[in-house]
Every structure is written in C-alpha cells, then in structure tokens.
C-alpha cells in the first residue's frame, strides 16, 4: 500500500460524509456560477453594445422629441456615414401573450441600414417598405404572438389610444447576441400621419448615427450636440455603449449586492468543507499518532490531510462545473432566452467555470491547511493518548 492509496481509502472511509460534502460543494459552485452568469449577462449586454454607433436624443428627457429636420443636419456632420431615426410606440399586446415588447416607428429607408444587428430577408424587407401598415417582428416576438408573415396583427399602445392594425411583412433574426428579439418595427410615416399623434407630428424620438471611425465617437458626439446648442431642443449624443453602461450603472447597487451574495456562497462552501475536514481529523487523531510512531514524518501527516481536503474540493468543483454546463448552458439558459424576457443571452462562459474550479481548489487548500498544520504539530504521545 502506498501513500496515494492510503489517502484515497481514507477519503472514502466515511463514504456518506465525503459524498455529501462533494454534493454540497458542487451545489455552491453551481450557485456561484448562476449568480455570476446573471452579472456577466447583464454587464455583457452593455459591453457588447455598438461602439461605432451613436444615439442622439433630447437633452432634457427621453420622453421629449426632436424636430424631424434634425436628421438632415446630423447626416451632414463630418464623420457621419449614416443616420436613422425612430419613435417609441409603447406597444402592448392586447391579448397579453407577452408581458413586454418594444414597438419602434422607424424611417423605412434607413433603419435597417443603420441597425445592422437585425438581419431581414431582402424580399421581406422590400415588401415591408411597400406596405405602409407593415411591421417586421423579432423572431421570438413573432413566435410568442403566434403570428407569421402575411398575417394581420392587432396591437395597442399605451401612448396612442385605440387599436392599431398591422400586417406582418417580415421577421428579423439577430446578428449579435445582445440584439433584442422582442421588437416590432413599424413605419414612422404611419404613426406620423395618424391623427392620434397630432401633438407629435413631424417630431422624431431619437436618432441612431453610424460613424466612420469608432475612436472618434466622443468627438463626433460633441459636434452633433454643438450643432443644436442654440436651438430650443438640445440633444444629448453618446455612443450606444455609453448609454447602455449608464443604464447598467443605474442598477449598479443591485449588481453590487449580487456580487456580495456570490461571495457569501463561497463562505458557505468553506464552512462545509472545513467542518468535514475538522471532523475527520478529530476522529483520526489516534491514527495520526500511530503513523507518527511507526516513522511517518509530520509532513506526511499534513500531506494526507491537505491532499484529502483538496481532492474533495476539486471533485465537488468538477461536479459543480458539470452541473453548470448541463443545467445553465444547456437547459435553463436557452429556455430563458426563448422566454424573451430580460436576457438576450444567458450562458456561463468557460473562464467563469475555470474560475469556479480554481476557487474550489483554493477553498480546498484553505479548509485543509489549519487542521493539517495542527495535526502535524501534535506530539506523538498526546495524539495516542487522546480519546474523543
């Protein structure tokens, strides 16, 4: 019997306890990965937002609109290669099949040129451009609304009262993982010509601007804002990424709290493993005395204990990563995205799983270190005399 065999046999002497400890560690790793995945997905949506695209809106409030002629001025700004505009429609499904959907009234000629994250079949796009009450729907939205190309669609708005009837002209699919798949895109002209929008006639909600050089985004933003500085309606222009980061920043307190909570679960992991190791060591103190008496060094004893702790932690960690891969990446994540809710992607990245394993390793070292040191320092006579 060599040392490794001894350690392995020792590990499974209390088989139930070892296995339950591994399960508990696997569970904590799964929970850690889950919380961190929420954070990564949340913050990732901002990081992934376009940096070479600017958004320009009313400086005072996002509920205020801008004169339509601003778009012509913006297109003339140096460094701008394309610009489009949209209004918020406040779309609601009257049958409540979806809790939330985005409804945009957009310039039919330029919107899909600028918003490259939405890809539409050219034939459907041409058909949509020719149909004034046509809409293009996100793939998940179309599925949830149980509709398809060629069908009519009744939608309500919480801004413009009454029923709105559309014809579904196309379905878009996302090109980027953060692109929203729950948006309905309608003609700006349809909204503008409607009497219910009399107070907002010939006013646009916001502009999206493609720029030539993404490193000049701050400069071009300033040039746009300067153009309208002396007007009644001033603009606030930033890269979409900056806007998205601002939005994430508004929820920063929640993200911070989740971060702390994810550390809390690691603490539970340490407590459970340290408890298990401490219990084993206490039960075997006599044996360590015997080992020492027949010639094993203190280092041997410490290695046995530390090795066992690390092995249990790593085995639990591996199990946890496996569970994460199966449950989050292959089961819950895709289901959550399909749900069309808050997350456009929900996936535990490989580095995060690696980090979780590393943490499990560190926890293993940490939990085993003090019992190992204490046991190796025991005097042989004390260890042999001790009865529990």
């Amino acid at each position: 019997m060599n040392l490794a065999t001894y350690a392995r046999r020792n590990m499974f002497r209390r088989r139930g306890r070892t296995i339950w400890t591994m399960i508990a560690i696997a569970l904590t790793v799964l929970i850690f990965c889950l919380i961190r995945t929420v954070l990564v997905s949340w913050e990732g949506s901002a990081e992934d937002a376009a940096q070479d695209r600017l958004a320009s809106r009313h400086k005072v409030s996002f509920t205020m609109n801008l004169p339509l002629k601003y778009i012509t001025d913006v297109r003339a700004v140096d460094g701008v290669v394309g610009a489009t505009y949209a209004n918020w429609f406040g779309a609601k499904d009257p049958l409540k099949r979806v809790p939330f959907m985005a409804g945009l009234a957009v310039d039919k000629d330029s919107f899909f040129e600028v918003s490259k994250e939405f890809s539409v079949d050219p034939a459907q796009l041409a058909d949509w451009k020719a149909t004034k009450n046509g809409v293009i729907l996100g793939d998940i939205l179309a599925e949830k609304l149980e509709t398809g190309v060629g069908k009519t669609l009744k939608i309500e708005s919480d801004i413009y009262p009454g029923d709105w009837e559309f014809k579904v002209a196309g379905i878009y699919t996302p090109n980027r993982k953060t692109a929203d798949r729950m948006t309905m895109v309608m003609h700006w002209d349809m909204l503008n010509d409607d009497p219910r929008n009399a107070w907002g006639k010939d006013r646009l909600g916001w502009m999206l601007v493609n720029i030539k050089d993404s490193t000049r985004s701050a400069e071009v933003s300033k040039a746009i804002d300067r153009k309208f500085d002396e007007m009644d309606d001033q603009t606030l222009t930033m890269s979409e990424r900056q806007f998205a980061l601002g939005f994430v920043g508004a929820l920063a307190a929640v993200l911070d709290a989740l971060g702390y909570v994810s550390v809390g679960i690691l603490l539970i992991m340490v407590l459970i493993l340290a408890n298990t190791v401490a219990m084993s060591v206490r039960e075997r103190t006599n044996e360590y005395g015997v080992l020492r008496a027949i010639g094993f060094t203190p280092r041997h004893v410490a290695t046995f204990i530390l090795g066992e702790s690390i092995l249990v932690a790593l085995a639990g960690g591996l199990l946890g990563v496996l569970l994460t891969f199966l449950l989050i990446n292959n089961l819950a994540g895709p289901a959550l995205v399909k749900q069309g809710g808050f997350f456009t992607f929900f996936h535990t990245p490989g580095w995060l799983m690696g980090l979780a394993l590393l943490i499990a390793l560190i926890v293993g070292v940490f939990a085993g270190l003090f019992p190992a040191l204490r046991a190796s320092r025991l005097r042989v006579t004390d260890a042999l005399r001790r009865v529990d």
């Binding site: 139930g16 929820l251 929640v254 603490l267 407590l271 401490a278 219990m279």
Partner: protein, 393 residues
C-alpha cells in the same frame, strides 16, 4: 424524554463544528431576511404616501403617469360627481415628466432620471408633505421644491455643472429654468425623489399647455370608490382609468420590488440546500461519534422515539442558533439605503430595508425547517442504534 440539557451540552462540546454549521444557516437567514426586509421597505415607502380615500385618474390604456395625458377641460367632469369630497382642493390635475440628470460625482455616462411634477397650489395640502428647509414655491412662478432623497445628488441637466439643490435651478429647456427654493419630506415615500413646481409654468416650459398627465381626487369616504370609478369609466367621451392611490403606487414599484425580493428569495432557497447538507453532515457525525452514548441512553430506558426527538431537537437548536446570528447580522442592513432606477417609471427609487416581526418569524420558521430536513435522516439513524452493539463497540 432525554433532557434538553444533554443536547445543549453536546453542541457546546464541538464548538467549532457547531459554529461552522450555524454560520452556514445564518448566511441563509441573512439573505432571506434581507430580501423580505427589502420588500417591506418598498411597501412601506408606497403606503407612506397613499390615503385610502384618494384615487388617481389616468387616461385609459396608460399604466403610468408618464404615458398618460388628457385635456385640462376634463377636470370639471372629474369634479362633478357627488362622491368627491366637499371643499376646494379635492381635485388636482398634475403634469408629470422625467428629466435626464447626471449623478453628482459620477462620470459623464452616469445619467439617471428624475421626476418633475407640476401641480396647482392645492397640491401641497393635498399631498401629505412637510417642509424641511427653505420655502414653499410661490404659485404661478418658476419656483420649485425638491424631495430630500435627491437633494444635492444630481447635476442640473443644462450642463452648468451645479448640483440640484436650494438656490440653483433646473433648465427644462434653454432659458426656461425652475428655481429651487426649498426641500420637502414625504415620510419616506417615493415623492421624496421628485421635483415639484407649478403646473402651468411647467406645462408652458415644455410646450404642453392645456394637457394634464393625471388627476388626484379626494373622495368623501373610501367606500365611495366603486361608485365614483363606475361613473367615470362608463363615460365614453372621457376614456379614463380610475384606481385607488395605494394600488396605483404599489403597481409602480412592484416590478422593482418583485425583482429584487424574488431574486433574494431564490438565492436564499439555493443557499438553504447547501446549508441543509451542511447541517446533515454535522448531525450525522454527531450520531456516529456518539453511538456509545446513544446505546447507553437506550440501555437506561429511553425509547427510540425519545432518541429521535432528542436528535431532531439538537438539529433545530443548531439552526435556531444560526437564525439568531443571521437576524442579528441582517439588522445592519437597516442602516443602508440605496438608489436604483425603477424601470417602470424610469425614475429613481430609494430602497431601504425595513424590519418587521413578520420578517423574523418567517426567517425563524425557515431555519427550523432547514434543521428538521437536515436533521431527520441522522435522527432516524440515531433511533435505530442497537443498544447492545453500540455498547460493545
């Protein structure tokens, strides 16, 4: 029955193990109680500004004041039903907008929204608010007052770099400022994150003359609500939605409150799985190490049931210890308040943790549940120990 003192002493013999296990349970209780306190905090903030005899009138189809709008002339129709409380100032029409403002001390991208509410002179008596400093705005002027939750926390949107506080101003549009003359408090309600000014001046600044976002109506009695709602909502010309103020206010924060407390409770449940395994491991070890003791107890005449209850009791004791530690720790949270964006109204909502007896009762019940589940299998094992074999080993 095995004396309870036996269990208490047994727990104290293994101090480290007992403490480690209890701490695990304390973490669960901390997260759970924190989530419940947060929910309680939001509810209290909502209830603080609601009166049972107040109703809010919005345009039909609108879920909040921001997207709602109807002509000022409708106000007369809202005032005429007999259920409206007698006297002037029972009906006030308000205009509500949000403006973008940068956080004071934040970088350029750190923008948030604050709500601006324009109201007639009667508004200050209709809403239950108190002046903290400065003065009330003079009606019909561009003077305004801010809630204490946002005092000095944001910068004027005009880009002047000055904080929004008494003595400074907010530019709604170029050269159309609201001058801040005071600070008010509203018993911790969400109004404290708003700026209040004169309805006519604000509408004129924004080019929305003659439009109201919403109306608040004081009824003679809360019981008149159904009749009043019926009269207004049946009027096809009017096309409005009538809700109780409390219902409306809680619907405005239910998204944020639900998300946060829901998240907390889900995490607490996940945590509790790990903590229960921890408790089971500890109790199992206790049973294994004490089989000789258990055998002795059995030989002394204690029955299987007595052993079972004794070990279950020990597990519950362990988890209640954890619950006490967790509840003490969670009280620290009452010192914190944090602001997040309410994604339903886009305005800031200041969140506090409020303790209530119900919170601690739920936490205690949850911890006892964890102790019972974690301790059941070990307790059954203990009850099955054969006295003869145990004493021989």
């Amino acid at each position: 029955m095995v004396p309870l003192r036996y269990n208490i002493r047994s727990l104290f013999v293994r101090k480290v193990t007992t403490f480690a296990t209890a701490l695990g349970i304390a973490m669960v209780v901390f997260v759970l109680a924190g989530a419940l306190m947060l929910n309680e905090g939001v509810n209290r903030a909502v209830q603080a500004s609601a009166r049972p005899d107040n109703v809010i009138v919005l345009r039909k189809g609108s879920d909040n004041e921001l997207s709602s709008g109807f002509p000022q002339s409708n106000l007369a129709i809202l005032t005429s039903p007999s259920q409206v409380a007698k006297g002037a100032g029972s009906v006030i029409g308000e205009i509500v907008v949000v403006v973008t403002a940068q956080r004071n001390g934040g970088d350029e991208g750190a923008i948030s929204n604050i709500t601006i509410r324009g109201m007639p002179e009667a508004g200050k008596t209709f809403h239950d608010v108190k002046l903290v400093s400065g003065a009330w705005p003079k009606p019909g002027t561009d003077e305004a007052i801010i809630g204490r939750a946002i005092d000095g926390r944001f910068l004027d949107p005009s880009g002047s770099g000055k904080p929004i506080e008494t003595g400074n101003s907010i530019d709604l549009k170029r050269n159309r400022p609201l001058r801040i003359v005071g600070v008010f408090e509203a018993s911790g309600s969400t109004y404290e994150a708003e700026v209040w000014g004169d309805v006519d001046v604000i509408r004129k600044h924004l080019g929305r003359e003659g439009i109201l976002s919403s109306a608040r109506v004081r009824l003679s009695s809360p019981a008149d609500y159904d009749a009043y709602k019926d009269i207004l909502e049946r009027d096809p010309q009017l096309s409005v939605k009538v809700s109780r103020e409390a219902d409306y206010l809680s619907s405005q924060s239910e998204g944020v409150a639900g998300l946060l407390s829901g998240l907390g409770i889900v995490i607490a449940i996940l945590f509790s799985l790990a903590a229960m395994i921890g408790a089971a491991i500890t109790m199992n070890a206790a049973v294994a190490n004490r089989s000789r003791e258990i055998g002795t107890l059995r030989a002394l005449g204690f029955g299987k049931l007595a052993i079972l209850t004794s070990f279950l009791f020990e597990a519950i004791l362990l988890s209640v210890l954890g619950a006490v530690i967790g509840c003490v720790l969670v009280m620290v949270l009452t010192q914190f308040r944090f602001a997040v964006m309410n994604f339903q109204t886009f305005s800031e909502i200041v969140i506090t943790f409020a303790a209530s007896p119900a919170v601690f009762i739920v936490a205690l019940i949850a911890s006892i549940g964890m102790g019972l589940i974690g301790g059941l299998a070990p307790a059954i094992r203990a009850a099955r120990v054969s006295p003869i074999e145990a004493m021989r080993s």
